[in-house]
């Protein structure tokens, strides 16, 4: 079922290309680039090292446009590490090194001439704990656009649009100038989502965005993710398997292996449509993990 749906989506090329193409040549550009347009990330043979320690081994998977891709697995399996490869967040960690290729719309993100700052503007991120800046709600969202050189006159518009998109506008429109710290945890996390989408990224990465939230707030975020899918490609790390089952189209299950030197290396075990993973996973390790017979 889902596999069919995926292929169907892959064939809706003209719509998505028209949205991306700003040069005015909408029809001609679509031919011959189907997979290019519809696959946002192509990762192959990705290894991540922290110094000598190999945290992640040989990950190969593709992330499709306008889909939610969930990364699940036990702690230490490298799912967050892998997520941080997509926007070069690993660069910030001393001694971290990424090998293999991470192609974003056909461009290798780890080439020398790629500017990680520009990468992060295109590929936004939402973190585990809501982390608004110690500023007003308004300034939190304006931060990214300002860095990108947005004009002052355009800011009001950007902020309203981002907040509406993050389903927070109604709750905060009368107190945009008050502190972001006055919001509840769930609201803060939606603010962080609004902040991430204010710079109009192409992809939103989420690193366990609901782990610090109560079930209702979690439900709101999940609802929001489903809506955001129409405009953005979303990759989400979650330790909540049911959440992955509820919100994602594709699920990647990572596992951790203890090697002979006593260190743990994460690896991708299975990558398949979510309904497949949760009804009849192909790999025994996936099955054992999601049914609670943890290794």
């Amino acid at each position: 079922m889902t596999e069919e749906r995926v292929t169907e989506e892959r064939e809706q090329v003209p719509v998505s290309t028209a949205r991306i193409d700003v040069s005015g040549v909408t029809t001609a550009a679509t031919t011959g680039t189907r997979t290019e347009v519809n696959t946002v990330f192509e990762c192959s043979g990705v290894d991540v090292y922290y110094g000598d320690f190999r945290a992640l081994r040989d990950v190969t998977l593709d992330v499709a446009e306008h889909e939610v891709t969930a990364l699940i697995g036990p702690s230490g399996c490298g799912k967050s590490t892998f997520l941080r490869c997509f926007n070069r967040m690993n660069d910030l960690i001393e001694g971290a090194r990424v090998e293999g290729t991470v192609n974003y719309h056909g461009v290798d993100l780890y080439q020398a001439e790629i500017d990680p700052v520009e990468v992060r503007r295109r590929i936004g991120m939402v973190f585990q704990k809501p982390n608004p800046f110690p500023k007003s709600i308004y300034d939190n969202i304006a931060y990214g656009p300002r860095l990108a050189g947005a004009r002052k006159s355009a800011l009001d518009d950007i902020i309203e649009r981002s907040l509406i998109r993050a389903a927070l506008w109604e709750e905060v429109k009368d107190r945009l100038k008050s502190s972001a710290y006055g919001l509840s945890g769930g609201q803060q996390q939606r603010l962080c989502i609004a902040r991430a989408i204010a710079v109009e990224p192409d992809v939103v990465l989420m690193d366990e965005p609901c782990s610090a939230l109560d079930p209702i707030a979690t439900g709101r975020i999940e609802e929001l993710i489903a809506e955001l899918k129409t405009d953005y490609t979303i990759v989400i790390v979650t330790h909540n398997m049911q959440q992955a089952a509820r919100i994602s189209d594709m699920t990647a299950f990572f596992s951790v292996q203890l090697n002979e030197r006593g260190t743990r290396t994460g690896e991708l075990v299975e990558f398949a449509p979510t309904s497949h993973i949760f009804t009849k996973p192909d790999d025994q390790r996936t099955e054992a993990y999601i049914t609670g017979r943890v290794g």
Binding site: A288, T291, V294
Partner: protein, 236 residues
């Protein structure tokens, strides 16, 4: 070496499995007992068999409640989900088989006093044998998660179907020879049909066992045809 982190949940699932195997055993015993009663015209034990079905009904009800509870509380996925889905459908199938045994028992009083021809008697006993074998094999396949065994159930059922055809011929030969009335012949035909249906339920269960093990929903020819028609309509 896996460590179990949902022990209670999986113990409950094992309990349901045990309940189902017990119900299957009751069906197997019921088939034998009701056949003996049928062949000996023992109305008293037929009544006993009818009463015993209440027990089966209660067991199936309890097993179903357990399944619903697990679905609601444990959010089963993958093999756990397939197991509970299989269990739910199996409960219905086994419970139906139990009803069929009861139906045979009920028919005993209606054909009481009829002297059955040896050929008819022989066929009834062979149908019993096959129905027992089918049901027992299916329950084994379920208990052992044996998809290979489940896959051959359909072929075994063909034997029962053939016997059923032979039985109908024998019954109507009997009637044509004026050994039994048309009324009695119809009653006997219905009884034969009950044995055949028990085999069909076994086949259904076997298909669910295959789903449980492999995750493949059994293909139905009818569904395939309908899908082909739907695709054709959409492409128009």
């Amino acid at each position: 070496m896996t460590e179990e982190v949902r022990t209670e949940f999986h113990q409950l699932m094992d309990q349901i499995r045990a309940d189902l195997v017990q119900m299957g055993g009751m069906v197997v015993e019921g088939i034998s007992a009701v056949t003996v009663a049928l062949l000996t015209g023992d109305i008293a034990s037929a009544d006993q068999i009818i009463t015993a079905d209440d027990e089966m009904d209660l067991l199936s009800l309890e097993a179903e409640e357990k399944c619903v509870e697990l679905l609601a509380l444990q959010q089963p996925v993958a093999v756990d989900l397939r197991t509970i889905l299989t269990d739910l459908r199996m409960i219905a199938e086994i419970e139906r088989s139990g009803d069929l045994v009861t139906n045979i028992a009920k028919a005993i009083s209606r054909i009481h006093g009829v002297e059955l021809e040896p050929r008819v008697r022989g066929l009834i006993d062979r149908m019993r044998q096959q129905a027992v074998r089918l049901t027992a094999m299916t329950m084994d396949a379920y208990a052992d998660r044996d998809a290979g065994l489940a896959a051959v159930i359909g072929d075994v059922d063909d034997v029962l179907d053939d016997l059923h055809g032979e039985f109908l011929d024998a019954v109507f030969d009997s009637r044509n020879n004026r050994k039994i009335t048309t009324q009695q012949a119809v009653q006997l035909a219905v009884v034969g049909r009950f044995y055949e249906r028990i085999g069909d339920h076994a086949v259904n269960i076997a298909q669910r066992v295959e789903f449980l093990v492999t995750g493949q929903v059994p293909e139905h020819l009818g569904a395939e045809r309908a899908r082909a028609r739907r695709d054709q309509d959409e492409s128009l």
